[in-house]
Symmetry: C2
Subunit: 136 residues, 2 copies
């Protein structure tokens, strides 16, 4: 059986390390498999993630590094990192400190389900964002 | 406790339905929690996914709908759909027919782990792509 993965195995880094645009990075709870959030990484944030063992993203709207949990304390300790077949999506398996990844206080950013009646909240609030970030 | 989700709850659709660019869509195995792949959806593919109950993506490189499994038979039956806090990422929980989502024959596209020694294949091949798609 030919193995198409052999060719790509020669590339030990995601495309982001070649200076391409920010790549999607999915954060999954390493223990439960829950998908916590999706954000973006550029070369600098990917390198800092590897170096520190904590998830560092790149905020496209603010054009700067986003050290996840810097303000809330809800950092993500990275247990393992995977790349997809095209080397253009990153998967982080993390330990989510504080039990909540989402800035509006839910464990997962995907706390709403699409139903025939519209969106339905299925996640439980873990914290009150007003208390964590202060009223803005 | 104020609920910032109330405001966004009024929007029953992801941004993609408003005609914005294709949005990332994560496919997760509904039974095991394994993240199978990440692709993109535009308004048309999202609508067809809702209508047919099968994952339909939008191929950005080919600029056309990509009915997952059309060629390989490895369709994804959608069990539930979730939207993230910003309404710009879609999560599909699916039943993956054929046990493999990745076109190179692995169950998950994330079959390679980043290690200090480079990328390491951690997934198992489920099928030989030459047999499924024919040699190209």
């Amino acid at each position: 059986m030919s193995d198409p993965s052999e060719k790509v195995l020669e590339n030990a880094t995601p495309d982001v390390a070649k200076g391409d645009g920010p790549l999607p990075a999915i954060a999954q709870d390493a223990a439960t498999g829950t998908i916590l959030m999706m954000a973006y990484m550029n070369a600098e944030s990917y390198a800092e993630t590897l170096e520190t063992g904590r998830a560092v993203y790149f905020s496209r709207s603010r054009s700067k590094l986003w050290r996840k949990g810097e303000e809330s304390g809800n950092v993500q300790e990275v247990e393992s990192i995977f790349l997809d077949c095209d080397l253009d999506t990153i998967l982080l398996k993390v330990k989510q400190i504080g039990d909540a990844a989402c800035h509006v206080g839910y464990q997962s950013c995907f706390f709403r389900q699409v139903t025939p009646e519209g969106l339905k909240v299925v996640g439980e609030r873990v914290f009150d964002p007003d208390e964590v970030y202060g009223k803005k």
